[in-house]
Amino acid sequence: MGSLTDKYCIVGVGETPHMRPSNRTTLSMACEAVSKAVADAGLKLSDIDGMTSYQIGDSTTSPHVATALGMRLNYAVDILGGGSSGEALVAHAIGLIEAGYCKTMVIFRSMNGRSGRRMGGQTPGGPVPVAVAEGDGQFNMGWGWTTPAQRFGMSAMRYLRDTGCTTKAFAEIAVAHRYHASLNPKAIHRNPIAIEDHQRSRWIVKPFRLLDCCQETDVSVAIVVTSRERAFDLRHPPVFIMGGYARTLTDSPQWNYSRDEIHYVAGNYGWKRAFGMAGISHKDVDFVSCYDAFTFTTLIQLEANGFCRKGEAGEFVKGGRLRIDRELPSNLSGGHLSEGYTHGVQMVIENVRQLRHRADDACPGWAEGRHTYDRKAGCRQLRKADICCGMGWGWENMASCLILRGIAA
């Protein structure tokens, strides 16, 4: 086991509603998410002495939030990054607390991902009227090839060709995650869908249809990390950080297309580290979260992180295997596909709530951990939720992971 395994914990989580549009600033939303996460931990804002966030030039900063909320911090650094950064910042928090730079740290992401800056350069109103192609953009915007769907579609298409998988496998993921969203009062899309609904939905960029794509969202999310010793006395049973990897890269990370196999994604390089650190194997994992910017990103990460063999993810997800009460439940809040798109942290939040046995579902007693397990009545709490593997995705070339365990079963 890694020496830091189980020494650090996630003790607080908080988020704003998933809105489109929020009609709020990223600072306003961040203040709410941070305050809620700190309160959820049973801490006061003055107990927090470290803050960090990630963004892509689309958000407020830790010093802004600290000013607004009257916090005096010993550490405040905001990084550039999108998906896979949240899990990586948990690793930063562990290192910083271990080294004594701060004691208790809050990590946030705040984005008007639908009404503000949209992925791929699209404006809130639609296509960008006059595009200025600078830097990397000279070699993608000039070809009308900018959005994550357009870019990841290249590795998805080649994957279909190389493995014989079809888009029915993509549909399995859309259907499973939507079913979980139907049990989540916070989700943007809650109407259950079937394989055929996915197959009939309109094309966005082949091989991706509308129901392969996540929900651009205005939202802020926050989590609180501290040491095990402090965690024991807080409001909830701690969720222990067993292991992970943090923004592991492939070679040629900014031009994925010159790698031998463009769908051999970064998780392949990371999972041994995470599972080795945690001292567990895949069969010990009760449920996963798997960054679903698109159905395909979930599919390929399951394979990359060793949950099935290379080229076999399409078979692996068949027949509803990722649904709650089945072999490997995935994205129990509905994920980016159906709950809303937060660049990853909402999945960490859901995992923490599941591990605490306090999924915020339709059960009247959820806050006290009393669940019916009646899916028809809207319960989405797993019966057995002891260990979770959360997989974060940046691009094909960048991935993070966070293996967590709870003690609240």
Partner: protein, 157 residues
């Protein structure tokens, strides 16, 4: 063939690392970067160092502009305004014939095909063609299928 790209809605800004690439395209030459020390080739030219040996003085290699389609997507919903009238169009990743290196390293480029989706398949040979734009400084390389091949794969959904 897809409808024309509205280049009046697209402004390409060459920079220190890419100006020579765009200047060559204007003369209908397709360049990739090449390391003068170890011979390694790469694309796109925004990367100013050799990833194999670390040389900081990359040169250029003029390719024949021929290759094989390695993967592709079909853009149906336009995101960049210049392409609103162009959808559906195919963007392909192309493995250049004269850029394969010992040890398996490949140089792959990307671009918009002149062919419609049914004509495009993974494994087909293709070649570069040059298209004038609204900006006299910018000539845009595009690609077209240039023959047939025995073992091709096409997305049929």
């Amino acid at each position: 063939m897809p409808a024309p790209i509205d280049y009046s809605k697209l402004r390409i800004v060459p920079d220190f690392d890419t100006a020579e690439w765009w200047a060559a395209a204007r003369e209908h030459k397709y360049l990739v970067r090449q390391c003068p020390d170890c011979g390694h080739k790469w694309f796109p030219p925004i990367f100013p160092a050799c990833a194999r040996c670390g040389s900081l003085k990359p040169g250029w290699f003029q390719t024949a502009g021929k290759g094989v389609i390695h993967s592709y997507v079909v853009v149906v919903q336009p995101i960049v305004g210049a392409f609103i009238g162009t959808v559906p169009y195919v963007v392909a990743i192309i493995e250049l014939d004269d850029c394969r290196e010992a040890g398996g390293s490949v140089t792959r480029v990307a671009g918009v095909m002149l062919d419609d989706e049914p004509e495009v398949a993974i494994g087909l040979p293709c070649e570069v063609v040059y298209e004038e734009t609204a900006d006299p400084r910018i000539v845009m390389p595009r690609w077209r299928v240039s023959g047939s091949a025995a073992n091709v794969w096409r997305f049929n959904e």
